[in-house]
């Protein structure tokens, strides 16, 4: 992958959501640190899988990349442009190449729109602002819809149907057609198969890999199912509590998981083979994912880790380079070179909040 062109680069991205206190004047009393300083590169034509438990910030990450939320700090560099600071027009122009597929096929399609209008919506938006290579007429748009429907495998006769007439798998196909309408370079897929049944899930996974082969689209693919991630991705990012725990190529990660969290995750996943299931040893993690509402100056996984050391409680582990493009944020590997230093400088909002509490304490 080294020689490949970097298409998207995320640098020290943080996404903090303010928690409003009650009272007449809404005061910020803290932050939910949904994504707390992550950096990674995405290469052209590959699929990057992001895996983690719910609340680990994987959905927030892709939404921040798509600029659905304004990131608190950090950069999302696409085509040399930092999307976080880009002005509205540039953003609109660049965003054409970043499209999303959503998790819930029932909620992600407007129930009052026909399939045709759903698929055409992005085209219409860009057509109206003359941001496409040419101005499409209604007939050309019709043609385009038929093409897209064929590509994702939906009967063209259903063009004027409403989403509620389709099953989950078909709806997800419509969602994919919509994402493909603008010929994007990157598709951010937010758990596109986790709401689907196994047999349908396989269809959609196959469809996505077909699209990638055919059109060379880069995917950032989120799932909580490790099997799905293993199947679809070239590289995998393991996230926990808004931090990246481990980045590696897919094969490497599954054959040689380094981070204790990854190891636990892999051992917890059920395998559809009764003999294997009975014999293997599970690492059952204690407790639940803690709430991401406070600042941490220790390893984020410290509370649940089975291999925690005193060192882990004192500092946030940096990314260690374990060779073979395998990076892991764990002090177990502190003999390895540091790939990327840990960064826990507080954000502006937090500094303000801290000052306020200090003032209060003084008074």
């Amino acid at each position: 992958m080294e020689n490949k062109e970097v298409i998207l680069s995320v640098k020290n991205l943080r996404q903090h959501f303010p928690i409003d206190g009650g009272g007449l004047f809404k005061k910020t009393i803290g932050y939910i640190r949904a994504v707390d300083g992550i950096s990674f590169d995405v290469y052209k034509g590959e699929t990057v899988g992001i895996v983690g438990e719910s609340g680990c910030g994987k959905s927030t990450t892709v939404r921040s990349i798509a600029q659905l939320y304004k990131p608190t700090t950090g950069q999302v560099i696409f085509h040399g442009v930092d999307l976080c600071t880009a002005d509205k027009d540039t953003l609109l122009k660049e965003r054409r190449n970043i499209q999303m597929i959503f998790q819930d096929p029932y909620a992600s399609l407007d129930p009052r729109m026909t399939v045709r209008n759903i698929i055409l919506e992005p085209l219409r938006i860009y057509n109206k602002r003359n941001l496409l290579d040419k101005n499409y007429t209604e007939e050309e748009l019709d043609e385009k819809v038929k093409d897209l429907m064929e590509k994702v495998g939906i009967n063209k006769a259903f063009v004027n149907r409403y989403p509620h007439e389709f099953s989950g798998g078909q709806r997800q196909r419509i969602g994919i057609a919509r994402a493909l309408a603008l010929n994007p370079e990157i598709i951010l897929a937010d758990e596109p198969v986790s709401a689907l049944d196994v047999s349908i899930q396989a269809q959609i996974l196959n469809l996505i890999s077909d699209i990638q082969k055919e059109m060379g689209v880069t995917f950032i693919f989120i799932a909580h199912d490790l099997g799905v991630i293993q199947h679809i991705s070239h590289r995998v990012i393991v996230m926990y509590l808004g931090k990246i725990m481990e980045i590696s190529s897919s094969d490497e990660l599954y054959s040689n998981p380094l981070h204790p969290y990854t190891q636990a995750l892999l051992s917890a996943a059920p395998i559809p083979d009764p003999k294997l299931e009975r014999t293997r040893q599970r690492i059952v993690l204690e407790g639940d994912v803690p709430s991401p509402d406070k600042e941490r100056h220790c390893c984020y996984f410290y509370d649940r880790c089975s291999k925690r050391m005193d060192k882990c409680a004192c500092a946030v582990p940096p990314m260690f380079d374990c060779g073979n493009n395998h990076h892991v944020a764990c002090f177990l590997y502190d003999d390895k070179p540091v790939a990327e230093p840990a960064d826990d400088t507080p954000t502006e909002g937090e500094l303000k909040l801290r000052k306020k509490t200090e003032n209060k304490a003084e008074n």
Partner: protein
């Protein structure tokens, strides 16, 4: 688009035809299943049609007051004349009973005394009338001469009194036959001058003076403190504001009225002659060519042959026609008020809901403050400031009633804002307006529709309440509320005046509520049994 959708046949893997439906179609299907809602809908449509076509219906004008037809009770079979006679005889019998000429049993005497004490006039009248008629037939009672002459006079009036309605007055003017209503001011002035035989300039002057005094009267009725120079100057200002055309318009209206009067006076003798000779059959419609060159088309009806199935009010106006014209006002208030408040509500609600943050905070605090104000008081103040006109009533009601809709739309939009399809639209680069108009409003429309059907009765109630208090529509216009309000004072004597408009109103409100309920169940079946 949807209307011209091509018919396509799609089958599933079992070769079964799948028929496409939209959410709206399914809602419609569900609505049709709800019998009560359908009946409600039909009644609402009938009411609306009747209100819309009021001017085409064969009913008496709602503002035509026939003094002798005051307070006639509703009757399907009896004419106005019969009812007048009956009423007169009731009075006479009662007087006769008082004078002791009409003799009743002791129990009945006591009963009547008791009724009189309780002011149950209707019972007294009915009883003396029934007994009186029996006595009259049996020959044990006779009218005295003055009573007999009153009855005879009334019978004669009923037989002979006619009413002349002028449909059209035309004149041969410069070789052409013209309807006077189509004539210009100059032509009218010329015609009128020649009819009166006066100089046109003198006429002009007196016409302008007439308009001026009318304006002056209007101003004084608006503000009774005006007098002297203040009044003169305001009259002049008003006249200037009218301008020459305005003055001429008003003058033309006056002239048309005068010419019609002249025409009727001239025709009167001919009509009387025809009635006397017995050659007129009623109702009579005909054209009279008058000696002064006017041609008048008119209708002659026997005044006392009218039938008032809902009775008449205290001025002798037909209650049926007043209820129908009143429903125009009431339904219009309901619809216009709802539509206006929905517009304001959607605008404010969707902005607050979608933009959120500070905008939302301040808009909603404003709504809260508005909520805190006593809204009826606001309406009353508005009506007092801007004058008691129907338009102002609409305006005042709409002004205070968008609050709930704004809150509802805001809530709806806030819940839709986090839907994935809205996020999807944003990820495509859709703008705020696009999202609000393409996604959020269509998806909250069903709830808005349901809510507005439930709102319409509320508006009608508010308007009725205001009219009942005398702050709503002003005479000669009517609304359900003002009819009920007028009837309250004579509730004991003429209960029908209260009961009939109330029933009409209640039926409409019931139907509207059933329709609203049905719509709600149809549009979101999940909330059924909840609200």
């Amino acid at each position: 688009m949807a209307l011209f959708r091509k018919k396509e046949i799609a089958t599933n893997e079992f070769n079964q035809v799948i028929v496409g439906t939209s959410l709206t179609k399914e809602a419609w299907k569900r609505l049709k299943k709800n019998k009560l809602a359908v009946v409600g809908g039909v009644i609402v449509i009938i009411y609306t049609l009747i209100a819309l076509c009021a001017s085409l219906l064969p009913i008496y004008p709602y503002d035509e007051a026939i003094t002798v037809h005051r307070n006639l009770r509703p009757s399907l079979t009896k004419t106005a004349g019969d009812l007048m006679l009956e009423q007169e005889m009731k009075n006479l019998f009662f007087q006769a009973w008082r004078q002791g000429r009409l003799e009743l049993s002791d129990e009945e005497d006591a009963q009547i005394e008791a009724w009189v004490m309780e002011s149950k006039t209707n019972q007294v009248w009915d009883l003396v009338y029934a007994r009186g008629m029996e006595a009259l037939e049996a020959g044990s009672f006779e009218w005295n001469s003055s009573e007999q002459s009153r009855i005879d006079r009334m019978l004669n009036n009923i037989e002979t009194e006619t009413q002349i309605t002028i449909d059209k007055v035309s004149v041969v003017y410069e070789g052409k036959t013209m309807n006077i209503e189509d004539m210009s001011y100059e032509e009218l002035r010329g015609l009128y001058a020649s009819l009166l035989g006066v100089d046109e300039n003198t006429l002009e002057e007196s016409l302008v003076n007439e308009v001026r005094s009318a304006v002056s009267n209007e101003l004084r009725s608006k503000d009774s403190t005006l007098s002297g120079e203040d009044l003169d100057s305001s009259v002049e200002m008003e006249m200037d504001a009218l301008g020459e055309d305005g003055i001429h318009d008003r003058a033309s209206t006056n002239i048309i009225g005068y010419i019609e009067q002249i025409a009727q006076r001239s025709a009167n003798s001919d009509i009387q002659a025809m009635i006397d000779s017995g050659s007129m059959t009623f109702p009579y419609e005909g054209t009279f060519d008058l000696s002064n060159g006017l041609h008048v088309e008119l209708e002659v009806t026997k005044m006392h042959e009218r039938r008032y199935i809902f009775g008449t009010d205290y001025l002798g106006r037909d209650l049926l026609s007043r209820i129908i014209y009143g429903s125009q006002v009431s339904i219009a208030v309901g619809i216009v008020g709802t539509v206006t408040s929905i517009f304001i509500g959607i605008l404010v609600g969707s902005l607050a809901g979608y933009l959120g943050g500070k905008v939302d905070y301040y808009l909603m605090r404003f709504v809260d403050i508005m909520y805190g104000l006593p809204y009826m008081l606001l309406v009353i103040i508005c009506m007092a400031i801007f004058g008691r006109q129907i338009v102002n009533l609409f305006f005042a009601l709409a002004l205070v009633s968008w609050l709930t809709i704004a809150r509802m739309v805001r809530g709806q939009i806030m819940s839709l804002k986090n839907q994935e399809y809205v996020e999807a639209a944003r990820s495509m680069g859709a703008g705020t307006m696009h999202i609000i108009f393409k996604h959020m409003i269509p998806n909250s429309l069903s709830i808005i529709i349901v809510y507005s059907t439930i709102r319409i009765p509320a508006f009608i109630m508010q308007e009725s309440f205001l009219s009942f208090l005398g702050l709503g529509v002003q005479a000669p216009y009517a609304s359900w509320g003002s009819l009920i309000g007028d009837a309250v004072s004579s509730m004991a004597l003429y209960p029908y005046k209260l009961i009939i408009p109330s029933i009409v109103m209640v039926i409409f409100l019931f139907s509207m509520n059933f329709l609203g309920d049905g719509l709600r169940d149809a549009f979101d079946p999940q909330t059924k049994n909840q609200l």
